[in-house]
């Protein structure tokens, strides 16, 4: 009798229970580490695919005149580039990081809902196959921009819009399930002693992001369903000829869309808040205020959506409300930036690759924040709206924001995942090439927008030629550099020097207490957090 009980209480019971062999490991896995890796590889593949589309756009815009592609195809490229980067590259990459790190950071053995975890990943390849396959269909893929404003995306859309709608539904289901899983894990599976206010900031930012996802993905599902009804079932939600309202589409879309941009940046805030203290060898300056700032940003994100719509002809009162609310976001964002900098101040800094990406994140994201503040001023926004200034703004928050955050996270935690160090020289080279390429690609866009170049045009007036040429050179430089990133990672996994358990001198947190590489099952027995 006692032998049986012994068996059940023995924490090492699972030691022999390793991954399945062959393809079955990946198809049927419920292991958070496997699923995390799949998310990350998938998002990298999508990053390259969306990147190729961006390069097609930039190649056409290298010189004035139409050289390579027709306007119709150009619009498909801008649309799919946006959709793939948002839903295929950035969001799955952060879900991948969440899968790997959240259980290891809160001392849980796995995610709370492992089978759902498997399902939420495996929906994605199908959703994106569906979306991208429209390019090869009669009439071409979606060509109405990633914001798919009605009625361009309903009455005037190509027939393949139905595939797009179904694809978006699938992505939404995947995101919602991922978010439920994150919340369930964080709220229920923390190790004893790990109170909410002791959680690492990456966990905090993901908890808040997950609530944002649950709140707004159904709104996106609602808006695409209304489109579906308009297209196939004769309703007139957005069709003015039937008494509908094209502006309603924009209100609903941006009610999803604005929190969505924070969904893409908050986890990156979390990553940077882990990395800067490590390489400054100093505690994060204001842990509590950082948590409150993230929560405030999340709450404010629900009441600023119409700042994307300053030119639709809202009443003055609406215009003023959304202007003031938007400017308010600068306050908690400022708090975060001040905190990162005060953390570095009088630290003992070293500049390994994750730190370089994090510092660039702080500087360049702040530049994106500045242009965001400018865009918030409604009368000035009439000049900036739908120009390349906006393109510059959101690429500054997304590329050195979200994407640099992901790069930083990968370099920071790769030694823990794979048990091997990447080559520091190559990592730094990757950083500098990305940094220069990215700035070369996106900084001139500020000038283009201010000088009057509208976004989403396949050809432009002659005064915009020089900056477009520079931007294209930068884009190709940034794009090519990411193949180099792939090489660095593969090289590290195959031939990198073995990593220590601690990996980084200044690193703190539960994930550094387990061996490198992290065993297939960790924290089968919960650690005690003091």
């Amino acid at each position: 009798m006692s032998a049986v009980i012994d068996n059940h209480t023995n924490g090492d019971d699972h030691e022999h229970h390793g991954p399945a062999k062959g393809i079955a490991r990946w198809l049927f896995t419920t292991n958070h580490k496997d699923i995390g890796s799949m998310y990350l590889w998938f998002s990298f593949a999508m990053f390259l695919l969306g990147g190729c589309m961006a390069l097609t756009i930039r190649a056409e815009l290298f010189q004035p005149g139409l050289q390579l592609i027709e306007p119709e195809f150009f619009n498909q490229m801008t649309t799919l580039h946006g959709l793939i980067m948002v839903f295929g590259a950035v969001m799955p990459a952060f879900v991948g990081l969440a899968n790997w790190m959240i259980p290891m950071m809160v001392g849980a053995p796995d995610m709370a809902l492992p089978r759902m975890n498997n399902w939420s990943f495996w929906i994605l390849p199908f959703a994106f196959t569906l979306l991208v396959s429209t390019l090869f269909m009669e009439g071409g893929g979606p060509n109405f921009g990633w914001t798919f404003y009605a009625p361009l995306s309903t009455t005037y859309a190509p027939d393949t819009v139905t595939y797009f709608i179904f694809g978006v539904h699938m992505m939404g289901i995947s995101s919602i399930m991922g978010a439920i899983n994150v919340i369930a894990t964080i709220l229920n599976m923390r190790a004893p002693g790990m109170t909410l206010m002791k959680m690492p900031l990456f966990v905090w930012t993901w908890l808040i992001t997950a609530f944002l996802l649950i709140a707004v993905m159904p709104v996106l599902a609602g808006v695409v369903t209304m489109m579906l009804m308009d297209i196939h079932f004769g309703t007139s939600f957005f069709n003015a000829a039937g008494g509908g309202d094209p502006v309603l589409f924009q209100h609903v879309f941006w009610f999803f869309g604005h929190p969505e941009v924070y969904i893409m940046i908050l986890p990156a805030f979390g990553v940077v808040s882990q990395i800067i203290p490590t390489f400054a060898r100093k505690k994060l300056f204001g842990y509590h205020s950082m948590v409150y700032a993230v929560a405030s940003i999340a709450i404010l994100s629900f009441i600023v959506w119409a700042h994307h719509m300053f030119t639709v002809g809202m009443p003055l009162a609406g215009e003023l409300f959304f202007m003031y609310a938007t400017m308010l976001i600068a306050v908690p964002t400022g708090v975060k930036v001040f905190n990162w900098i005060t953390t570095m101040f009088r630290g003992s800094l070293t500049f390994e690759t994750p730190m370089l990406f994090s510092i660039a994140f702080v500087v360049l994201f702040t530049i994106g924040g500045f242009s965001g503040l400018m865009l918030a001023i409604a009368p000035a926004d009439f000049q900036y709206h739908d120009t390349y200034f906006v393109v510059a703004h959101f690429h500054y928050v997304l590329v050195p924001g979200a994407i640099f955050g992901i790069f930083a996270a990968v370099y920071y935690w790769l030694p823990k995942w794979s048990g091997r160090m990447y080559n520091e020289t190559l990592g730094k080279l990757h950083f500098w090439l990305s940094f220069v390429g990215m700035n070369l690609a996106f900084f001139p866009m500020h000038f283009l927008g201010l000088a009057g170049m509208p976004r989403r045009i396949p050809d432009y007036a002659l005064q915009f030629a020089d900056f477009n040429a520079i931007s294209t050179v930068g884009a190709f430089m940034f794009g090519a550099t990411q193949l180099f990133f792939l090489y660095i990672i593969i090289n590290a996994i195959r031939k990198g020097k073995p990593a220590t358990d601690q990996v980084w001198e200044g690193a703190e947190g539960l994930e550094w207490t387990i061996p490198s590489p992290a065993p297939y099952h960790t924290f089968s027995t919960p650690p005690e957090v003091k």
């Binding site: 004035p64 002809g313 306050v331 708090v335 007036a461």
Partner: protein, 373 residues
């Protein structure tokens, strides 16, 4: 090695310098030619300099730490964290800056929203991919299409200095008068923007948006559609010519005369050759963007006319498609966009060009009869 590098660098620099001299490119927002555009420019510069100052202070501290507090320089980490006073200060100070910024922004916005007491009212309608201007109460009503030839776009010809920013019919307005724009759209959402006026307003089907301007200096002002509206979104420019009141009155007169002359044309009959000549011009400005100059279209969205059953056999259907458009497609109703004479000419052209050779000569009367049926 080094000399080669120097040579490459100097080449690059001289290339940049040459480009600088030949092309006139803007780095900043134009200050514009209206009082509103001046206030907007001032707002833009104020918030820009606020950002620059904050940036210099914040990044200054950061780079100071990056250079001074390096481990390699023997820096030892101190252990301070959480300071309520500091945290309150860096929350309150931004709030004060923002409130200070809100005051002028609100003032300008209120002014921009005051569309009362206009001297001239112009209704602007966005179509895929052109603009229509109706001078309310003046009987002036015309379309404005981009006039840049395809040859320039496809690099067969050198591009002129107003490449993509030139139209066949300019909007003419008087200076020093309050001009109210009533903006709407016929199909999808467009957006009407002239940077020099700081006027940008979406043209939305089913809505009429109002905005206004008062131009201080005569001149030609150019802008573009700024809301993605389909295939030729990049090819629907806006050109406004601001002139003295006297010249404006004269222009209105000419326009009204032209309209009368066009109406008189409907009573005349034309030979097939005359019809073909007129029809081709109309086809090029109104139809060729989708159905292409060679009549082959871009199927499936934009069907071919060459060899099409409707264009060869079914005249009744042909009239219906052109006059009433096709619901749920990009085919617009041209009945209200073109005169009967022009409709007749373009239908005749389509029935005889590209080997369609029906010999049909559709007259303005046929179109009128169809419309009255």
């Amino acid at each position: 090695m080094r000399s080669r590098l120097v040579m490459a660098l100097s080449l690059l620099l001289s290339a940049i310098y040459a480009a600088d001299a030949s092309a006139e490119y803007g780095l900043n927002m134009p200050r514009g030619v209206t009082d509103i555009s001046h206030s907007v420019y001032d707002l833009h510069m104020t918030i820009f300099w606020i950002c620059v100052v904050i940036g210099v202070v914040v990044f200054g501290v950061m780079f100071y730490s990056i250079f001074k507090h390096r481990k390699s320089k023997g820096a030892v980490a101190s252990n301070f964290h959480e300071n309520t006073t500091v945290e309150i200060i860096w929350t309150i100070v931004p709030v004060i800056i923002l409130v200070a910024m809100c005051i002028p922004a609100t003032k300008t916005l209120i002014e921009m929203y005051d569309t009362s007491d206009a001297d001239v009212d112009i209704k602007i309608t966005g179509y895929q991919w052109k603009w229509r201007y109706e001078y309310l109460g003046q009987d002036v009503d015309f379309f404005s299409n981009m006039s840049t030839p395809k040859e320039e776009i496809y690099n067969a010809q050198e591009k002129n200095e107003n490449y993509l920013l030139e139209v066949d019919n300019e909007v003419v307005v008087p200076i020093n008068k309050k001009i109210r724009f009533l903006i709407t759209a016929n199909d999808v959402i467009h957006s009407w923007w002239i940077p020099d006026f700081a006027v940008k307003k979406d043209a939305i089907p089913g809505f009429i948006n109002e905005t206004w301007t008062r131009i201080n200096e005569p001149g030609v002002y150019r802008g573009q559609c700024t809301e993605l509206c389909g295939k030729d979104h990049g090819f629907m420019p806006i050109v406004v010519r601001a002139v003295e009141q006297a010249e404006y009155d004269e222009w209105i007169n000419t326009k009204q005369e032209e309209a009368k002359a066009a109406a008189a044309l409907a009573k005349l009959t034309f030979t097939l050759e005359e019809q073909m000549e007129r029809g081709e011009k109309i086809y090029t400005t109104n139809c060729a963007a989708c159905h292409q100059a060679n009549g082959k279209g871009l199927p499936p969205a934009f069907p071919a006319l060459a060899g099409s059953d409707i264009a060869i056999n079914n005249l009744e259907k042909h009239l219906e498609v052109v006059v009433k458009g096709v619901q749920g497609t990009a085919m617009q109703a041209y009945g209200s966009q073109l005169s009967e004479v022009d409709l007749a000419a373009v239908i005749t052209y389509e029935r005889n060009a590209w080997g369609n050779d029906t010999g049909d000569n559709v007259s303005a009367k046929d179109v009128v009869d169809y419309k009255n049926k």
